[in-house]
Subunit: 326 residues, 2 copies
Amino acid sequence: MPDIRILTEAQLRDVVALDRETVDVIENGFRALAGGGVVMPPVLSMAIEEAHGEVDVKTAYVPGFDGFALKVSPGFFDNPKIGLPSLNGLMILLSATTGLVQAVFLDNGYLTDIRTAAAGAVAARHLAPEDLAVAGVLGTGVQARLQMQALHLERPFDRCLVWGRDPQRAAACAADIAAATGASAEVMTEIAPLVKQSQLVVTTTPATEPLITADMLHGGLHITAMGSDQGGKTEIAPEALAAADLYVCDRVSQCALMGELRGARAAGLMAGDPPELGAVIAGQAPGRSDPRQVTICDLTGTGVQDTAIASHVAARLGEAGTVIHA
Amino acid sequence: MPDIRILTEAQLRDVVALDRETVDVIENGFRALAGGGVVMPPVLSMAIEEAHGEVDVKTAYVPGFDGFALKVSPGFFDNPKIGLPSLNGLMILLSATTGLVQAVFLDNGYLTDIRTAAAGAVAARHLAPEDLAVAGVLGTGVQARLQMQALHLERPFDRCLVWGRDPQRAAACAADIAAATGASAEVMTEIAPLVKQSQLVVTTTPATEPLITADMLHGGLHITAMGSDQGGKTEIAPEALAAADLYVCDRVSQCALMGELRGARAAGLMAGDPPELGAVIAGQAPGRSDPRQVTICDLTGTGVQDTAIASHVAARLGEAGTVIHA
């Protein structure tokens, strides 16, 4: 049997970073999604209520990639009480021709973090206005930081506005964004003026009630909503989704279950299937065609991104990691 | 982060074998399944038609176990053409309290093989007649061999009858069973006389039409049907299922989708929920109560068995394997 390569999070951080190459890799994944032949089963999800935990498993076969990733994402939300991170997990890369395990990436969620942020940059590449001076972000966690870092690769904004429920956490997040991007960053205490001043807003919260309402939209705004990844979550009001000139899903079938599309459909405001990001990238559906348009991209996270980032790691890893003679 | 232990198939074979201790471990898993609180999501299944392959992912949380297993089982059926086994894969053991990865077992399906065979022995322990001189097996693959080996631990039969579509493969299988158990073993060319002479028959084939029909049943017979694990497979005729004195499922919800129960329900021959093996073990449902009864056990394979075997490996592994400082 072929050798299997094992990489730790530290080794993976040496191999891949959140840079333009990674954004290109994720863009290629979405493009492949539009090409047909992708097999992406529904997420396997298991809740362990006694431990306030859950585990999600995602996978996707993408024609054109030699391997496919299978990702295990545990979230155990009492972990911080004992000094451990809530999110961790690993990715397995298997051969798409033999099913043999090729590598195990013990990434503790690092690869998910960067492939998720890179998808935000891909959305901006195709949907954001060209001139982007001010970017806003709702939420103050890891993705708030990484989404702004990824966006800055694509649209090097001068100023970043940060909103969060906890002003101290928002201040820490703003400081980190300023340090990572070189842009100025400041905390906003209200969402409406943040949206008003921004040409692009990324929502990264676990909100269960909409944060952005239709009255906040303005010409020349792009919103990437990446916080909602479960049936009970929503960040964008259904009326705002309906009012946008262009609303794009990473995957319609997923957004209808756990993204913003769910609420809009429940409200009877979204008939038919919106275009997918991959179709926009592939030129099969129009992206932004006018700087004054309002565009929204709904990102729930796809197995295609995992397969794309894991394949990228495999191509770059060289001699890194531990080799197991299986 | 805690260290992660990686074991290869060879190392795993040194740590656990198909013995009575393993049968007890699997019995405990089924008993826990009857105790409530088990979370066992539907199997994640992805087909890669271009490669004549598929991947299944199973997991189960079982109260009372410190960890839970997540099992990845690829089956790529063109592999033998290039000298590779069709089935391979791995198991991951995660903490049930923190979700952290504890170990990765690169078992190529070995742990699945022995936990599957051990389930057959558990079924025999509770459902087979006490006096068992002749055992029959349909099919000539790995499970045909292992099921007879496991059964012999529990009911040390004197004689084994083997049927397969290919007489040469059947002869090789019979020779292996004789060598592993010390019983005599011979090939039968017809199924009906095999069933007639046997007190216990295990069916291990991928048949899509029933092999055992109601007219073959006789008093004092137990059948364990473990071949069907997909919607299109069946080994036991619906009328035979209905005619048995006792029909037991490993998990009703799974047997209704991919076991023998599916066909029996479709034929309108099985109203209500049959008992589960765990309930029989726990004394919540009767097992065999008379040596003249006909009993059938339907095994589709459960995530509980994976969690039980992986936890057993973790408890026994000592210093084996490679330690990754994650």
